[in-house]
Amino acid sequence: MTVLQSSHSQDQQILVQVSNMKKHFSISKGLIIERKVGSVKAVDGVSFLIQRGETLGLVGESGCGKTTVGRTLLGLYPATEGEIYIDNHNVRQARRDEMLTIRRKAQMIFQDPYASLNPRWTVNSIISEPLRVHKIFTSNKEKSERVQELLNLVSLSPRLVNRFPHEFSGGQRQRIGIARALASNPAFIVCDEPISALDVSIQAQVVNLLEDLQDQFNLTYLFIAHDLSMVRHICDRVAVMYLGVIVESAERNELYENPLHPYTQALLSAVPIPDPKKGRARSRIVLTGDVPSPINPPSGCRFHPRCPIAKDHCSIDVPEWRQITDDHWVACHEV
C-alpha cells in the first residue's frame, strides 16, 4: 500500500498523521538466547489523517489489527516502521519530556470497564492520576476541585470520589474511565471499543456523552469499533481494516451507501438490521472461511482467498491505494 503523504505536513487542521505504520510482534523461542522464529504482522502499513475536531472510525473484525493501530499510534507499542505525528509531535522519536507532552495531549478510553480501572484505587486516585503525573495542579485543593468538576462532566456524583471501581456498574465505570481520559485536557482521544462491553440501553448514554464532550472541548476521536451501526452514527469518516491493512476509507454516508471494496460490501451486508421486513428483502454476501493468520498473510491482496470477485492477478499483485472520489479511497484491483 502506498502512503497518503510521504512527508510530514505542517497543516494546522491535521491533528493526527500516520504514514505507512507497521507493527510486527516477533515470536521468539529459547530461554536465555532468544531467537526470532517469525512475526505476527498485526499492522502492516497503515496510513491515515485525522482532522481537528473530527471522529475517524476504524472498523474491522477481531484480529484485523485495529486495537494495535490505536496503541501503536499512541506509542504504547513501539512501531516497527512508519511515521506517526500527533499535533506535530513525532511520536516515534519523542524523548521523555516530549513523550509526556504527547501523553497529556493524547488519551485513551478502553473497552473493558472492569480491567481498565485499578481495583485497589479509589475513584479519586484514578481520576487524579494524570493531574499528578503531569503536575497540572500543585495544591490538593485544586486537584480535588478538578476531580469533582470531571465527575460532574461525566454525570457522576462527586460524592462518590472515595468509592472503589467494583462499587459501580459497567456504564458508570466507563464514565470514570472517560473522566480520567479528560483530566489532562487532551486534544485527541483513542476510543478503543468504548461501548462494546455495555448493555444496549447504556451504550446510547455513553455515546451521547462522548459526543457532548467532543462538542464542548473540540475533541478529536479515533473511534475503534466492530459495531458498524454505531460507527455510522458517531463517526465523520470511516476506515475499514482487514488483516493489518486499511482496504477502504470514505466519508461515512459515502462508505455505507456506496461501499466499493468487496470486503466492505460483505461486512456491511452481514450487519443485522433491526427491521425484519427490510432484513428479509435485502440480499446478503456471506463470506466463506475465516480470516487467515496474520503470521503468514496471503500474497497479493490479502482478501483474495475469501473474495467473491477475485481474479488471478489478485493473488500476485498488491492492490494500490487509490483515490476514487474526493474523500473515498480503496485498495482493490477490481473496482
Binding site: 480491567a115 481498565s116 485499578n118 485497589r120 479509589t122 472503589f164
Partner: protein, 293 residues
C-alpha cells in the same frame, strides 16, 4: 482510605487477636528482660537440673539447671528479631526480583529467573555453610534493647533472608505477569505514569494477598531455620538462648521433661498463629472488595 482499612481490620476479630498476642509477645521478651538479667538466663544451677515447673522456676529448669522462663524471654528477643528481619529481607528481595522479572519480561526475566532457579537448585545446607563461612567472624557485635548481640545473629538473619526469597519471587513474578496485561496498566502507561510507579503503586498493591501469606509463613520458617542453623554450629552459639535451640535441645527429653519443649514450642506456635491471623486481617482489610463496615 487509611481509615477504611482500619475499620475493616477492626472487624476482623482474629486479626485483632493476632495483633494483641504479637504485642504481648514483644512485651514479654523485651519487658521480661527488665526483671531478669541476662546472666540469670545463662546461670547454670547444676544441682537443680531438670526441675519441673515450680514457684521458684515457673517454667522449670533445663538440662544444666538454667531457668527456662528467663531463657524463653531472652530467646524470644533473638527469635522474634530473626523472624521479622529475615522475612523483611525475604520480602524485599522476593518482591524486587519477582516484580522486575514479571514486569519487564524478556531478557531481564530470563536472567533473574535463571538465578532464582539456580538458588533453588543448590541444596540449602550448602548455601548456608558457604554463606556462614563467607560472613562469619567479620561482623561486629551490635547493641539492641540494652543488650549486646553477637554478630552471628546478624549473619543468621542475612543467611535466612538470602536463602528464602526465591519462592516469593516466583509468586510475585507470576502475579505481575498476569496483572500487567490488565488495561489499567496500559491506561497508566497512556497517562505517562513512570514504570516505577506502575510497578509499585499499580501492580504491587494488587498482588499483596499472596505476598502476605508467604511472609507470614516465612516468619515461622525463619524462627525454625535459626534452630537448624545453630544446630550446625553456624549460628547463635550457646549459651545464648533462642526458642529454636531450646526446642532443639529438648529432643531427648520429650517424655521425661516436657516443660523443656512445651514453653518454647508454645511461644513459637503463638507467634506463628498471631502473625497468620494478622496477615489474614491485613489481606482482607486491604482488599477493597471485602464489604466495608
Amino acid at each position: 482510605m487509611g481509615q477504611l482499612v482500619w475499620r475493616r481490620f477492626r472487624r476482623h476479630k482474629m486479626a485483632i487477636f493476632g495483633a494483641v498476642t504479637l504485642i504481648l509477645l514483644f512485651i514479654y521478651s523485651i519487658g521480661g528482660a527488665l526483671i531478669f538479667p541476662e546472666s540469670y538466663a545463662n546461670f547454670a544451677d547444676t544441682p537443680l537440673r531438670l526441675t519441673a515447673p515450680n514457684l521458684q522456676h515457673p517454667f522449670g529448669t533445663d538440662t544444666i539447671g538454667r531457668d527456662v522462663l528467663a531463657r524463653t524471654i531472652y530467646g524470644g528477643q533473638i527469635s522474634l528479631m530473626i523472624g521479622m528481619l529475615a522475612v523483611l529481607i525475604e520480602v524485599v528481595l522476593g518482591i524486587l526480583v519477582g516484580a522486575l522479572a514479571g514486569y519487564y519480561g524478556g531478557i531481564v526475566d530470563s536472567i533473574l529467573m535463571r538465578i532464582t532457579e539456580a538458588m533453588l537448585n543448590i541444596p540449602e545446607i550448602f548455601l548456608l555453610i558457604v554463606m556462614a563461612k563467607f560472613f562469619g567472624g567479620e561482623i561486629p557485635e551490635v547493641d539492641l534493647f540494652g543488650r549486646t548481640f553477637s554478630g552471628s545473629v546478624i549473619v543468621i538473619v542475612l543467611i535466612i533472608g538470602l536463602t528464602s526469597w526465591m519462592y516469593l519471587a516466583r509468586i510475585v513474578r507470576a502475579q505481575f505477569l498476569s496483572l500487567k496485561e490488565n488495561d489499567f496498566v496500559l491506561a497508566a502507561r497512556a497517562t505517562g505514569t513512570s514504570n516505577f510507579e506502575i510497578i509499585f503503586r499499580h501492580i504491587l498493591p494488587n498482588s499483596i494477598a499472596p505476598i502476605i501469606v508467604s511472609a507470614t509463613l516465612g516468619v515461622a520458617n525463619a524462627i525454625l531455620a535459626e534452630a537448624y542453623i545453630s544446630f550446625l554450629g553456624l549460628g547463635v552459639q550457646p549459651p545464648t538462648a533462642t526458642w529454636g535451640n531450646m526446642l532443639d535441645g529438648a529432643n531427648n527429653y520429650l517424655e521425661s521433661a516436657p516443660w523443656l519443649w512445651f514453653f518454647p514450642g508454645l511461644l513459637i506456635l503463638l507467634t506463628v498463629l498471631s502473625i497468620n491471623f494478622l496477615g489474614d486481617g491485613l489481606r482482607d482489610a486491604l482488599d477493597p472488595h471485602s464489604r466495608a463496615a
